[in-house]
């Protein structure tokens, strides 16, 4: 198995498990409080990383901005998805709709980074998005 794929599967599994633990959290406390403690965990993890890992602080401006923007974009995305649900959007529709986000990543990566996909990978990207939508529809309908 290629290394990048192995790490992708690890991310997929951990994020998948967090889908269950998040549900356990929001069954007991509000989504805001849950998000806040989610962030505290990120801070704690960062502290551990700083203590355990030898970090290279020599960073380029573009890299620094992109990495910080990553946290802001992902966090804001979580917040706007809560807002979509609070603004009257049905969970089954909102969650399915936001599952389309990799489509934008693919588009931007092709246009801006000049990435090229094989025919099979292109088919795979669309199949993945379809799969994510199908998985979300029923999950949210049950919730």
């Amino acid at each position: 198995m290629q290394l990048w794929l192995m790490f992708s599967v690890v991310a997929l599994v951990l994020w998948g498990i967090s889908g269950i633990t998040q549900k356990l959290a929001t069954n007991r406390i509000t989504s805001e409080r849950s998000f806040l403690w989610f962030c505290w965990a990120m801070v704690a993890l960062s502290a551990v990383v700083m203590l355990v890992v030898h970090l290279n602080w020599g960073l380029g401006k573009m890299v620094l901005i992109s990495a910080i923007a990553g946290g802001a974009l992902n966090g804001l995305g979580a917040w706007t998805s809560f807002r979509a649900l609070e603004s009257g959007g049905k969970a089954s529709i909102v969650i399915s709709l936001v599952s389309l986000y990799p489509l934008l990543t693919v588009l931007l990566a092709v246009l801006i980074l000049g990435e090229r996909l094989t025919g099979l990978q292109t088919m795979g990207a669309f199949t993945a998005i379809g799969a994510a939508i199908l998985l979300s529809v029923e999950t949210s309908a049950q919730a």
Binding site: L3, R28, T30, A41, G71
Partner: protein, 146 residues
Amino acid sequence: MHRRRIPKWLLWSLLTIALWGTWGLVSKIASTGVDAYMNQLLYTAGLAPLMVFVAITVHREQGKVIANRNSGIFWAFFTGILGGVGNIAFFQALVKGGKASVVAPVTALFPMVTVLLALMFLKEKLGRTQWLGLALAFAAIYMLSA
């Protein structure tokens, strides 16, 4: 003339797509000059302003009595640890040569794990749509890794 207004939930949903979709791109750009651990550290720095904003909101409801508060906090914190370690793995995938256009769709399949765990541990039943989603998810991983 009567003007049709776009529903707020749709605007928030589209904004979510824009934010998360762009996250994949900036993560790939960052991974060209930073390792996965440093990326996670900077990611947390980017999260900080939103954290302050949410903390103010949460502080306002401090007086309310919430049953099961401690267990809720535990699960939320644990979710953050899983999410953060998952982020490091995601950043590693990009550092190790994974294309953003492939890694993003693969990792976006994480609901398949949630569904499988709900089936195994929470004894939830899967509908036809979910079974089809699971089958498509496995097929997609195979095609994307080819």
